[in-house]
Symmetry: none
Subunit: 214 residues, 4 copies
């Protein structure tokens, strides 16, 4: 958690600092990421960083949390979870869709978070992080169980294996979206979205019915 001093800052200032942090860590990773540079990008004194955050590690973790909160707050509308018994395929579709939007509107942020989830930053072993990851796993697992009950998911395979399967595909498609976003440089226009959508749908289809020929 950031120190109180950080929380007392104006929303804009907080955001500026967090975005500078995200940018720097995205660009150089944790080890090479430079606290002084973050401060410079945020237009504050280097020393101030240490008034806001305990140290570089905490800064990183706090940045992750802020980014997740930010995305959740601004893009949750794309995931309209009606109830706990939501269909897992619908969920995955909406989730990937949300990620696509994030990638367009908030590329840096989304890339940062995806990389965190993809485990690209080896320097995190925080119980909060673990908790978040576990949460998302639990979420998937729950939908799998529900799916088994209502017949939308096959019953002959272990929950954990199914979960791995779903998450593996799910991450890969996000990674793919990320890469595409990176390559596209600055601008993603609306036509692109149809392509994305089709690709996402194809992935879901594969999850559902497999890739085996007739």
């Amino acid at each position: 958690m950031p120190k109180d001093t950080f929380n007392h800052l104006s929303e804009e200032k907080k955001e500026k600092i967090m975005r500078a942090s995200i940018h720097e860590f995205n660009e150089h990773g944790f080890e090479k990421g430079n606290v002084g540079e973050i401060a410079r990008q945020a237009g504050i004194a280097k020393g101030s960083m240490y008034q806001y955050f305990e140290n570089k590690s905490e800064l990183f973790l706090d940045t992750v949390k802020w980014a997740m909160g930010f995305l959740e707050m601004n893009f949750s509308k794309f995931i309209t979870i009606q109830d706990k018994t939501m269909d897992i395929f619908d969920y995955l579709y909406q989730n990937a869709k949300a990620a696509t939007f994030q990638m367009r509107e908030e590329r840096g942020l989304a890339v940062f978070i995806q990389n965190v989830f993809l485990g690209k930053f080896r320097e995190l072993s925080d119980e909060t992080m673990d908790y978040m990851l576990k949460m998302s796993d639990e979420y998937i697992l729950n939908m799998i169980r529900v799916g088994k009950e209502n017949g939308s998911v096959r019953k002959d395979i272990d929950d954990n294996i199914l979960s791995l399967f779903v998450i593996g595909v799910s991450y890969k498609i996000k990674e793919y979206l990320m890469k595409k976003a990176r390559n596209n440089g600055q601008d993603i226009i609306d036509e692109d979205y149809e392509v994305y959508e089709n690709e996402i749908k194809a992935m879901i289809e594969l999850l559902k019915h497999g890739m085996g020929g007739k």
Copy 2:
């Protein structure tokens, strides 16, 4: 590529250095990985490292290549590719199986390589690396094309999407095997293999027929 001086070393010495390097990078990542410590572990002088390798980055890349070569040489027997038209599901099965063996016999090495492929080391961009990664993609793609021809793979979905699908699942199961290997500490006994095998088969089944119910 290592300098000539490295290639002139005895096979044992080369292996000792490479294993020390793998160990260090596995333990601390690239940035925190310490060249001097690798030398110490390998029982050579720090300065010698710079007679063998251009610099730390090259050392890393060379280590990756060595590790891949080593695994290929020692575990390729587990992948009996009869011909270019091999069935992709068979291939994936054998590939996962091989990974399982690697994990047992050469945990450090296997973990290292998996992490490289999983993109955990962000600081690598070498044309040779890219080539290898692309190769493995091409390999998959080719099997997909063949599969489409002989009817074992559905034709209504784009090759690249199918490839993502396969790779996503494939990586995930390897990641899972890795984690399990890590948790199991030192000893993986034969009984474990049956469990692993069943899990791998379940994953292949899912790739083939999907997770949809009924």
Copy 3:
């Protein structure tokens, strides 16, 4: 000298700040002593410290002065100087006795002052400090002169040498008392005092008659 703002504070607040300062400097020395921490311990704002004191050095000096004044005010009763011609041995006895009481009642304060006089804080060079130290030397010197006149002190040795002799022994016994106080932890009970008293008397006896055998 503290700024006026400090003098306008209530006696309790002043004392709280001074005690916090003494505690911090005792614990960490001058360089490592932390102004912010003193403020925190005193329950005031860090910025306020700079409204009360010019800077850290002044704060230290002011703390010394306050502590000396405090001890003088509260423990001078133990030194009943009847007249200027007081016997030096009586004086030393009473002085050591007073120090013993201080050590019991006001350990932190007494330790602080003793350390100042023992020169443990090398970073002080204030004319007021010098003056005080010189004062106490002058005091001793004067008693030595009086003693020579009335025959209680031998005349064949230089005043300054005698003064060194007295002060050396005097400091050492105080240092010894301090160490004992520190080791005794929280509680010094009355029985201890008899021991202390005997030790003090033995030191005076040595000053008077030397340690030579019969």
Copy 4:
């Protein structure tokens, strides 16, 4: 203890570094003493300091040890301890005399060591240091016991008190010599020594027979 690398240096280089260290710590104390500056004064790279010493604290401790060893090697000739039963007054005389010579020939070094013994550097709590200090205490105590046996020291006073007495005076005279040396600036000429000698003798006389009149 310094690292091996330091011990492998030439004697001159070692001495240059140690003298630079002594100078810096004498001038600014431990906390304010600057490792980089020491390196600069010694004509070596800052990083090299860390190849020779674990860290600043170790450097300080190692410097103390070196200085003590140096003085012992170069000035022990002034203390001709014939046997364990040496007379304590003779010992103290020779000891003070040796200190005087040290102060002339090796002012910086001597001042440094005296300050260490006087406890001016609060930042040392090394078992080796403690050991050295205790050694010198034990030394004194032993001579006191011997003195009591052969009648040169009075028997009616506790050993520890006598030891305090001796050490207190002894330190004070050294402190006095130090101050004098400092004030004298660069040059101490031979005439001064007679004065010093007389003062030392006077102190010993006081230790022996006390300052009482008649």
